[in-house]
Amino acid sequence: MQSVLSVHGVSKTYPGVIALRDVSFSLAPGEIRALCGENGAGKSTFVKILMGIIQPDSGSIAINGQIQFVREPQQAQALGLGLVAQELSLAPHLSILDNIWLGSTEVPFLHRRASFRMRAQQALATLGLADWHLDRPVNSLSIGQRQLIEIARLLAREARVLILDEPTATLSDADIERILGILKGLRAQGRSIIYITHRLGEVFELCDSVTVLRNGQHVATQPVSEVTREHLVEQMLGRSFKDMYPQAATRADQGIRMAVDGLHVPGVLQDFSLIAPRGRIVCIAGQIGSGANMVTRALAGLVPSATGSVTIDGRPMRLGSVPRCVARNVLFVSDDRAAEGLFPQMTVLDNLVATRLDASSQMGVLSWPALRRLGVSLAERVGVDRHRLQSQSTTLSGGNQQKLLFGRALASKEAGVLLMNEPTRGIDVGARAEIYRIMRELCDRGAALIMTSSDLEEVVGIADIVITLYRGRVVARYEGDGIAMSSILADITHPTQAIA
């Protein structure tokens, strides 16, 4: 059977990184192909090349056997390729109909023609949504329903190859089930799907075959039936998955660093309690919407409406003000590096020393040599090249940017509390191991670490204590050998018993 999409020897280089190296790929009609790989493996570069968003340095793309040079997304659309990006691209105040045709090259200046309505209706019907009214505004739909509109958009444009980039990352289980069912239906109609996901369960449930990328290179393409879960993880990581995480805490319990009692954030979190011992990593596990990331934000002082009693080393700390928390050495590393972590226009050095200006100044006047010394020592400890201290921070790779944020936490003299949301999101394998090492170093210095993560393998690998959350309530608490992926997964998806 002729392949609907065939990519041959595609390479792409960015300043400082080789994003893709000689990748070949071929997709049959009616095939669902999983595209797996760690963050930074080159998946999004690959998709962007397919969609004509960026141009490859070399290599060719053939669609239905014809070599094509896809120069812009409109052209990819005309060739029958469609992408549902990770972030939804819907205009919330417009109707379903408008959103389905938004950005389509076919639409003339005025598009309220009967044929467009009909084709939109057909697209919805294909997804089993014939009863949805086309004039309904998109903001009246749930996130999962909006995801379906994105897929309907591709169908209305008669896309033969659908590329879905982590379509289920933000969805509830019921919505995921529905989407997977719909995708199977599309396969039966002979459409091909490239399915990018981190959730290995979905690979095995939905996909026919799986392609693994690692560091921009093609590692393997194999039918799903011929590969095991462990094998797949090893292909993605390039090594056995046990090497990834450092040794668990070995030092004896040194007492309580932070105690939280009755933490409450209206509408998000109820009666949350936690004890974070010195030298231990506490991991709060929960799906999106469980309130897990709100725990760390509230403890960092970023949530004005948070209430509850918090003590650090036995002394109470008031919530709701970041400077007050920082003064007590409670530091926060955000999951949104771009918006809430990095100072993009500033240098690597300025980013590293951001929290320690007080220690390098007298009467408000900074000592540049002291800042420089601090910066150099921090850069060495987190493993950032000291020759890049004067570079603009955005020129660093994602992993190195994250190390900068951890460097800030290392800067303080006394160990405190480090709060982290998704500390390894968007980071390649190598930097990931480095970050785990830094986390353990902080533990050894007596800091208490509290993190959230939606990556369960990470939770099991790094945590000393795990607290599971479901819809703003604590489900269970595990420690040491009691931490198991199966029970955590069960807790955060379908809790059987909720302890208040």
Partner: protein, 329 residues
Amino acid sequence: MTERLPNGADSAVAAADLRWMRFDRARVFSWAQTIGIIVLLAVIFATPGFLAKPSILSFLTTVSFIGCVAIGMTLITISGNIMSFALGATVGVTAMVFILASNWLGFDFGLVFGLLFGSLLTGLQGLMIGWVRANPIIVSIAALALIYGLTQAFAEKGTIYADPGIFPASVKGKVGGVPIEFIMFVLSALIAQFILSFTRFGRNLFMVGSSFRAAEAVGVNTWRTITGAYLWAGFFTSLAGIMLAVRYDAANMDYGVAYDYDAIAAVLVGGTAIGGGHGSAVRTFAGAMVIAAVQVMLLLRGLRQEWQYLAAGLIVLAVIILQARGNGR
């Protein structure tokens, strides 16, 4: 160390290639900028009469008024609040308040009172922006309207005159042949640069301007920092108003008209990022010199005021395009 490349030989080749690619565009645009400045300077210096002593002296005086406002504007721009439309009006109203206070209790009192008044007036806007989180542009336009409205209501005659002999001769002359206004301008630029480079407040200002949320997350007191930026902006702006009042022994609300625009032009020509988080007072100094020199040149070549606005507009446009392209969009 930072980015992993596959193996030794290839990575050396790749790195060499990349270095060439990375510098290429930035280099082209920085050359364009340099050539543009050289051509501009050549045209300016070739203008008949520009290098004559009276012309230079008048240039150094006029550039100082706008220059001080531009120094203040630099702090606002770096703090991430784009610009203020109220600084021109602040120049006018401070000049008036300064003369009233001087007539009442003498020059020294007037000076302190004027500086305090201008700083607090602008600082209050900073408080609205930093603490209430109001939109900076709207706040500055509202302040502009309020300032004009109040001065119209209270100063019906329009122009206020200083009592004869109230200003000491020493503040009206030259020091070593250089107009005292220009010396104050240079000092302002140095003080502002010191604040930006060597104080915690200055560093906080860059952080707030670079990323407000990140600054908040690392524990910078954001509202104090923004209020501080406006306080200092008001300080430098009121200095311009006071210098104008001293020079002309009078004050009215026409003094600061269009200063906001020339000031932001100087800030941008000086390379301060309009989005905040990056910039320098010393470079704003250079930007103000360029803008003022172009205006003097046009005047000497016999072109009307309207052409001066057009020229300033074109220069700003060119700088914005060069900056945007040079930064890789």
